[in-house]
């Protein structure tokens, strides 16, 4: 089972690159769903024995990250009737380059940290840190509010990866709490997004800049 570990982390990294490169909003949301699925499988494979607890977490993760949230975002996308594609502030190629740099930095940084225990020298930390950085890049460079929500989602995925490596230490309750908070967070953001689209007739970041010094 643990043999599946490394390839899944690599797929997560690939999905990161895809998200940074994709120009259409629909494909970005699809990619985040795929990443959710990978995380679900990862949750199962990360631990030897298949206790009831681990399966529960995995199923919950897949359900939320791959099904509930993407549908929510698709509905929001339809209601707001926005232009379908993603208008990045700095263009796709530069964001890809920064993404790559981020991944390199993640690898270098995790090199400095000793990694004891069962995942000796594994890709967990670099991939987690890289996903977090990708989420941040999406958050800071995409003009649309909905893409920012997706960016936040990818950021949460990155953190979830590191959470998995601690699964045996972290009790089930906290894991569930984290997932629950993620859902509520996204849910509130979606509500606010509807209000924003009704008030400003577009979720473009330019309108949302009235409060300034």
């Amino acid at each position: 089972m643990s043999s599946l570990f490394e390839p899944l982390l690599v797929t997560v990294l690939l999905v990161n690159m895809f998200v940074l490169g994709a120009s259409r909003l629909r494909s970005v949301i699809g990619a985040s769903a795929v990443q959710g699925v990978c995380l679900g499988i990862l949750a199962v494979t990360a631990h030897g024995e298949l206790s009831f607890e681990v399966i529960g977490i995995a199923l919950a993760a897949v359900a939320i990250k791959a099904v509930v949230i993407p549908r929510l975002l698709y509905k929001a996308m339809r209601d707001v009737a926005i232009v379908r594609d993603v208008e990045p502030l700095i263009g796709l190629i530069p964001s890809l380059v920064i993404g790559a740099l981020g991944t390199v930095f993640a690898v270098v940084f995790s090199g400095t940290l000793p990694f004891a225990g069962v995942h000796e020298g594994s890709l967990v930390l670099p991939s987690s840190f890289a996903t977090v950085l990708t989420g941040c890049i999406v958050l800071t460079t995409r003009r649309k509010a909905i893409t920012q929500v997706v960016g936040y989602l990818i950021l949460e995925n990155g953190i979830f990866i590191l959470g998995l490596s601690l699964l045996d230490a972290m009790p089930f309750l906290v894991e569930a709490g984290v997932l629950l908070d993620l859902v509520v967070g996204i849910f509130v953001m979606a509500i606010i997004l509807n209000h924003v689209s009704r008030e400003f007739a577009s979720t473009d970041a330019a309108e949302l800049a009235e409060l300034k010094e």
Binding site: F109, T112, L113, P114, F115, A116, G117, V132, C136, L139, A145, Q148, Y152, L155, E156, G158, I159, L162, G163, S165, L166, A169, M170, V174, G177, V178, D181, V184, G185, V188, M189, I192, H195, V196, E199, F200, L208, E210, L211, E213
Partner: protein, 475 residues
């Protein structure tokens, strides 16, 4: 008993949602606050045993922070009925519920001794405060909420990430990783140093966003500028204090791990940076509510700088948390009155408030002198302790920079406050009626800060010393 501390306000919030009449619902908030305060007093005098195998416990830090939170909430709660009465047309159902829920989540953060639980507490407080900020339903407040949520969530995500780093620092330090503070502190010397350093940095930035330290403070001016005054008071006094409690727990872990020096240098840098940024944006500020936000950033900077200096300054920082939360209460509530009276937040439109709203304007001016650390008020003593600590620790550059920036803040803020309070008396201006309930809470806050400036009661002093010793725990 501790769980009651958390669940009581949330229950009251649920009741507030259900109650039909607006007047009763408005009065539910102060009643909830009184009950919560009574419970707090009971909890502090007869410390209950920890619950849920030490997830909820009342350590020395908790015994100081919980009374501050409930006292501050109590004062703000009594402002709410009069505040809502002045706005009959606004739906207050969600407002009262979220306000009470916020108090509950804040108490959760203060009493939780588990990293993850504390994170959940802070996350829910963010979500609970979002609708409060959106109370005015204007496009500007909508934009403020959106920014608050986005930046808050990114910050909280990093806080979670940092917690995982801390857990894995225990895991990779050769011990079983647990997120309970007692365990973390007990085997702190064995935590692996690089993981701990990375964890502390990410946690500092994560919870720093909730505290409002520079450069993560950018949401504060927008949120405090648009949110209702009483929400601003609760956010500045309550939520920021919870985030500070979380930060203090991690400083304690660093101290216990013998890495105090590393943590302190980071805190000093972020502290001075915050005071500097606040001072820079205070000069010629056009909106007196945004000015309060920068004042909040400045005071968070002062507290973090105090924690960074350590020794006597930690005692000063803790006392400053207490003084600041009540001092902020005075300023926010009086600006609320002035904003409602003049209908505008810009200093250009508001001048000579002393003629129209003598009570609020006088309290606003006294609050200004209190918050900028003029002696008769408590903030002077805490800032004096911090500077004294800095001089004793030989950190002359930091101390001189600290005093210079405080002087700049005084000048920047004073220009705005003096302009608002004093001014020509137009012929038709007459003294307007100010409901007692909008004045009394601010006056009580000011009285408390004034008393703390002259005489710190021994029991409070004991609380402060225990908390300071607790944070400064050496390996």
């Amino acid at each position: 008993m501790l769980l009651a501390l958390v669940l009581l306000p949330i229950a009251m919030g649920a009741v507030a949602l259900v109650v039909p009449s607006a007047r009763v619902r408005a009065w539910l908030v102060p009643i909830g606050a009184v009950l919560h305060a009574a419970l707090t007093v009971a909890v502090v005098i007869w410390p209950p045993p920890p619950m849920f195998d030490r997830w909820l416990a009342l350590g020395p830090l908790g015994r100081l922070i919980v009374p501050i939170l409930s006292g501050q909430f109590l004062v703000c709660a009594f402002y709410v009925p009069a505040y809502l009465a002045a706005r009959p047309e606004r739906p207050t159902r969600v407002f009262c519920a979220c306000l009470l829920a916020l108090s509950g989540t804040m108490s959760l953060v203060a009493v939780s001794h588990h990293l993850g639980l504390m994170w959940v507490g802070i996350e829910t407080s963010t979500l609970a405060s979002a609708p409060l900020i959106y109370f005015y339903r204007t496009p500007r407040s909508l934009e403020a909420v959106w920014k608050y949520l986005l930046i808050g969530s990114v910050g909280i995500a990093f806080a979670l990430y940092g917690s995982f780093f801390l857990a894995s620092s225990a895991l990779h330090g050769g011990h079983e990783s647990s997120l309970l503070f007692e365990d973390l502190v007990r085997n702190a010397p064995h935590l692996s140093k690089p993981w701990l350093h990375a964890a502390f940095v990410i946690l500092l930035v994560g919870y720093g966003t909730k505290i409002g330290l520079a450069p993560m403070h950018t949401w504060k001016p927008d949120v405090y500028g648009e949110a209702p005054a009483v929400v601003g008071a609760v956010l500045a006094g309550g939520v920021a204090t919870c985030a500070l409690t979380a930060l203090m727990r991690f400083v304690q872990i660093c101290n216990a791990a013998g890495d105090g020096e590393f943590a302190r240098s980071l805190l000093i840098v972020f502290g001075l940076l915050s005071i500097g940024v606040a001072a820079a944006f205070m000069i010629r500020q056009r909106d007196y509510k945004r000015m309060l936000a920068y004042s909040s950033v400045e005071h968070m900077g002062i507290i973090v700088f105090g924690l960074g200096v350590g020794g006597l300054a930690t005692y000063g920082a803790l006392l400053h948390i207490l003084n600041n939360s009540f001092g902020k209460g005075v300023l926010f509530m009086t600006t609320g009155n002035l904003h409602r009276g003049y209908g505008s937040r810009l200093t250009a439109d508001v001048s000579g408030a002393l003629h129209r709203f003598p009570a609020s304007a006088a309290l606003f001016l006294a609050g200004f002198f209190a918050i900028t650390g003029s002696p008769p008020f408590g903030l002077f003593l805490s800032e004096l302790a911090i500077v004294r600590g800095a001089f004793a620790a030989g950190n002359y550059v930091g101390a001189v920079l600290f005093l210079a920036l405080l002087a700049t803040v005084f000048i920047g803020m004073g220009a705005v406050v003096i302009r608002v309070v004093q001014g020509p008396r137009a012929a038709d201006v007459k003294r307007e009626r100010e409901p007692l309930l909008t004045i009394l809470p601010a006056a009580c806050c000011l009285a408390l800060v004034l008393v703390l400036g002259i005489y710190v009661p021994p029991w409070l002093d004991a609380l402060l010393r225990d908390a300071a010793a607790f944070v400064e725990m050496q390996p």
